[in-house]
Amino acid sequence: MNFLFAVFSQTFRNLLQTWSAQLLTLLTITLSVLIFVFFYLIYTNVLHVGQQLDDDLRLIVYLDEEPSKEMQEEYRRKILKFDRVDKILFVSRSEAFQRFADQLGEDRDILSDMPDDFLPSSIEVYPFRTLDTLTKIKRFSDYLMTLPGVLKVQYGREWVERFYTFINLLRLIVILSGTLLILTTTFMVANTIRLTLLGRQEELELLRLVGASTNYIRMPFFLEGAIQGMVGSTLGLGALYLLYNWIKLHLAVSSLMLVFEFTFFPLPVVLIIIGISTLLCGSGSFSSTRKFLQL
C-alpha cells in the first residue's frame, strides 16, 4: 500500500463518515461560487459591451472657421499639451458635408439645394479608452472650449458617465462577492475540518501512537478541503451555465440580446476559477489542521 493510496482511502473514508457536515459545506461553497461567478459573468459581458461603445467615445470640437495647416498644427499642439490622446482628426466643411450625405444614403437628395460648406469644420479628439479618461473628460471638454475659434464641444457626457458608474458598481460587486467567496470557503472548510478533528480525537491520538507520519495524518484533511473546493466550484459554475442557457433561451428575442453578444466564460477562465477554489479550500483546511492538530 503506497502513501497516495493510503491517503486517498483515508480521505474517502472520512468524507463518508462525516457526509452530512460535508454536504452543508459543499452547498455553501457552491452558493458562494455561484454568487461570485454570476456577477463576474455580468461584469465581463458589460465590459465587453463597454469596449464596443468605447469605439465611439470621442470629443467633437466645432470650429467657426476652416483651420489652415499652421492652425491645425497649433490646435494639435494645444490639445496634446492637455493630455496624450489616441488620435486627432480634422474634418473640413466639405468632409462633414460628404459624411452627412453618406449617412443620409438614399435620402441624400434633400441636400441637393444646400451649399457643401454649410456644416462647420471640426476636430475629432479620440481619448485613450481608459477609466482615467472619464474623470478627465469634463475638464478636457472645458479646456477645448477655451481654444480660439471653438464654437462648441460635444460628447455623450451623461451617457458615458452613467455607463462608467455602472461599470464601477459592478466592479465593486465583483470584488465584494469575490471577498465573500474567499471568506466563506476558507471559513466553512476550516470550520468543517475543525469539527471533524474534534469528532475524531480518539482516532487521531491512536494514529499518533502507532507512529503515523505527519503527512499521513494531515494530507487527508487537505484533500478533503481541496475536493470540497473543486466539487463546489464545479457545481456553482454548472448552475451558472444552466442559468445562462435559460436566460439566452428566454431573452433571445430581447433587443438588448440582439445588439450585444452575451457570452459564457471561456474554458481557461472556468479552469482558473475551479483551480483557485480548490486551492482556497485546500489551504483553509490545511491551516485548520496546523492550528488544531498538535503534531
Binding site: M1, N2, A6, Q17, E202, R208, V210, G211, T214
Partner: protein, 241 residues
C-alpha cells in the same frame, strides 16, 4: 533495546509516579513488570512509548534518547513498537479488522498482506468469526485480544503490553502468552506489565516488582544468558509475509 537511567516522573502538583528508576532490557528478552495498582507500571510503559516525557533521567529505546528524538524519527520508532493498552484504545465505530489494520496502514503495508496478517492473528487469538464485527459489539475480553492483535500486527521489535490478560480466562490467557512467546522466539522484545502472577510464576524470565514508583525487587540489568540469536526486523517481515 530498552534503557532507563535514573528516571523519575512527577505529575502536578506533586504526585510521584516513578522515582529514580534505572532499568535495562536486552533485545529479545521478556521482562515482567509487577506491582500493585498505582505502583508505576503503566507510567513506565507510557514513558517507553513517549506518551509521557520523564521529569528527570534518560529513556532510551533502540539506542535513541526519546526526549531528544525529532518528530519524524519518533514516528518511525513508534512504528516499530507495538503497544497493547490497558484501556484498549479501540475505535468503536470500526470493525475488528479495521482496528487491527491501522497499525499496518501507517507503515503503508500492502492491502493483501494486511488482510492475511489480520486473519492469521485473529485465528491465533480465537477471534476469526469477529473479523467484520464492530469493536463496540465485542466483550471486554474480546476487545483486549483485538488490542493485542493490533500490537502484534506490525511485526514490532518491541511489544509493550499493559495488563494484557486482565479480562481473560485461564485458557485464553495461556493462548495469549503462547503467542507472545512465539513472537519473542522470533526476536521481539516484550515488556509485560501485569497483576496476574500466573503468567510469570513459573517463567524463567526476569520479573521486576515496582512499589510506589520504585523498583523493590528483581534484577534491573539482564543476565548474560539472554537470547542473542534474535531475528533482525527484516527477517521478521519476510517470515511473516
Amino acid at each position: 533495546m530498552v534503557d532507563l537511567v535514573k528516571v523519575s516522573k512527577t505529575y502536578l502538583p506533586d504526585i510521584t509516579a516513578i522515582s529514580d528508576v534505572s532499568l535495562s532490557v536486552n533485545k529479545g528478552e521478556i521482562l515482567f513488570l509487577t506491582g500493585k495498582s498505582g505502583a508505576g507500571k503503566t507510567t513506565l510503559l507510557r514513558l517507553l512509548s513517549r506518551i509521557e516525557k520523564p521529569t528527570k533521567g534518560v529513556v532510551e529505546v533502540a539506542g535513541c534518547d526519546l526526549s531528544k528524538l525529532a518528530p519524524g524519527k519518533l514516528q518511525k520508532l513508534r512504528r516499530s513498537i507495538g503497544v497493547a493498552y490497558q484501556d484498549f484504545k479501540l475505535l468503536e465505530d470500526r470493525t475488528v479488522a479495521q482496528n487491527i489494520a491501522i497499525a499496518m496502514e501507517v507503515s503503508y503495508t500492502r492491502a493483501s498482506v494486511m488482510k492475511m496478517r489480520t486473519k492469521k492473528l485473529l485465528k491465533e487469538l480465537d477471534l476469526s468469526s469477529k473479523y467484520d464485527t464492530l469493536a463496540s459489539e465485542l466483550s471486554r475480553g474480546e476487545q483486549q485480544r483485538v488490542t493485542i492483535a493490533r500490537a502484534l500486527s506490525g511485526n514490532p521489535d518491541l511489544i509493550l503490553a499493559d495488563e494484557p490478560t486482565g479480562n481473560l480466562d485461564n485458557e485464553t490467557t495461556a493462548m495469549v502468552m503462547d503467542l507472545f512467546k512465539y513472537y519473542n522466539r522470533r526476536g521481539t522484545t516484550l515488556l509485560i506489565a501485569t497483576h496476574d502472577e500466573s503468567i510469570y510464576r513459573d517463567s524463567d524470565h526476569r520479573v521486576i516488582e515496582l512499589k510506589e514508583g520504585s523498583i523493590i525487587n528483581g534484577n534491573t540489568f539482564p543476565d548474560d544468558t539472554v537470547n542473542d540469536t534474535a531475528f533482525t526486523p527484516e527477517e521478521n517481515d519476510s517470515a511473516a509475509e
